[in-house]
């Protein structure tokens, strides 16, 4: 399983990378390669040129920026796992990261790479949509910022133009008070592609009622989605399973889940309900406990 031949470039900045993409429609960006190289090995994709942005220093960072946590597109997943800023202010991201692949893939895989690949089961895509992150990309010398809900347009398809390159992702920074997160997924083996996943971030008021809830479901449909209807229903209320479960079940009623070798549509729908309930309950418990990383 050897890749088809290609030329290799290592540009020194993102604009140089975009220029190569603009000049050759079959050129592709490589960062961590953990998603791309298997597809190349199976000859499902055959870039004529590979544009390696993995070592552009200006694309790898985690920093605070205008109430957001900005993460450079080529920041390694393992680096974000360890980063103090990310852990403090984007707890849902750090909760989800250990579920991505294996340590060996997180050593090379990048935040931007997983987002650009847009697999329906990708944990990072789910977190980005759940938190309504902003994705920043560069194309033809211009920078565009786009919200996650607009960025992911279909099955492994994004709004990123073919000559564009993801530059950064901005997550809303949580200020820590009464914040709790939960993340659950179900797969045949730990670290496989999930059949269904749920991500929840909750902010409780001091009386433990729900001030805000971000709840997203992944791996069930071609693009992960938020259950804003559930958030609306739970606003101002205590989080209890007896009200939570029917709210989630109702919200999932119209969803048309995918069906494949590993899981039926019915299974995905039911699992999504269970995982969403567990994620919200975990988030609420950790918010009450004062430690967003607890549970």
């Amino acid at each position: 399983m050897k890749s088809a031949p290609f030329d290799y470039h290592r540009p020194s900045d993102i604009d140089e990378a975009c220029a190569i993409l603009a000049a050759d429609g079959d050129a592709r960006i490589i960062a961590g390669g953990q998603s791309l190289v298997p597809m190349m090995a199976m000859r499902l994709v055959r870039p004529t040129q590979l544009v390696d942005i993995g070592r552009i220093p200006s694309l790898s960072y985690v920093r605070a920026h205008a109430g957001m946590i900005a993460i450079g597109a080529t920041t390694r997943q393992c680096a974000v796992e360890r980063d103090a800023l990310a852990r403090a202010h984007v707890p849902l991201l750090c909760k989800a990261l250990p579920w991505i692949g294996h340590a060996a893939t997180r050593a090379r895989g990048t935040i931007g790479g997983s987002l650009a690949h847009a697999d329906p089961a990708a944990e990072l895509v789910l977190v980005a949509i759940t938190l309504d992150a902003k994705l920043v990309y560069r194309a033809g010398g211009a920078t565009t910022e786009i919200s996650a809900s607009d960025f992911f347009t279909g099955l492994m398809t994004t709004a990123l133009p073919s000559h564009g390159c993801l530059a950064a992702i901005h997550f809303p920074a949580s200020d820590g008070g009464n914040v709790g997160v939960g993340f659950h997924e179900i797969n045949a083996r730990r670290s496989d592609f999930a059949f269904a996943s749920a991500a929840a971030q909750i902010v409780l008021d001091d009386d433990e009622t729900c001030r805000s809830l971000a709840l997203g479901i992944g791996a069930v449909t071609e693009v992960p989605f938020r259950l804003d209807a559930v958030a609306a229903r739970l606003q101002g209320r205590r989080i209890e399973e007896s009200t939570l479960r029917p709210a989630i079940r109702d919200a999932l009623g119209d969803v048309a889940p995918m069906s494949d070798l590993h899981a039926s549509a019915d299974y995905r729908r039911r699992a999504a309900t269970t995982l969403a309930v567990r994620a919200v309950m975990d988030a609420a418990a950790s918010a009450r406990g004062g430690n967003p990383h607890a549970h």
Partner: protein, 163 residues
Amino acid sequence: MPTDLTVNGKRCHVDVEPRTTLLDCLRDTLGLTGTHMGCEHGICGACTVLIDGVPVRSCLMFAVQADGYAITTIEGVAPGPGELSVVQDAFCETHGMQCGYCTPAMILTAHALLAANPAPTREDIVDAISGNICRCTGYVQIVEAIALAAERLRGVNRPIEVA
């Protein structure tokens, strides 16, 4: 495409097609056949090497991407000819292998784990090797090997590093 790699502390100059994976370069160009090919799509882990001390699937890297890192393969682990590292010896003590095919990857992964975490729990060990598939052992004797190595290394005065 010419590339300079540092493998097991030695600088090597190679000139391979960009599509040559680090795995194929190590095996075919540099003759280091201890790193093994199992799936070429990043799942079985038999191709694991250490990149700056961290386990990485060498089938998912191209050789031309691998310059500037300290690459460690299984050939760089034994302290000397005819000798075994504490981890390697522990694998022999518990029989943490049968066919030997996944073994170099397991040993490198174990070295990396113990360098970062000298007192891993059973769960830590299971998790650390969960990206390396073994079809022979059922993992039990591998986990025992790593636990034994951890215990022995904790008794040593100086940490033993391979990367």
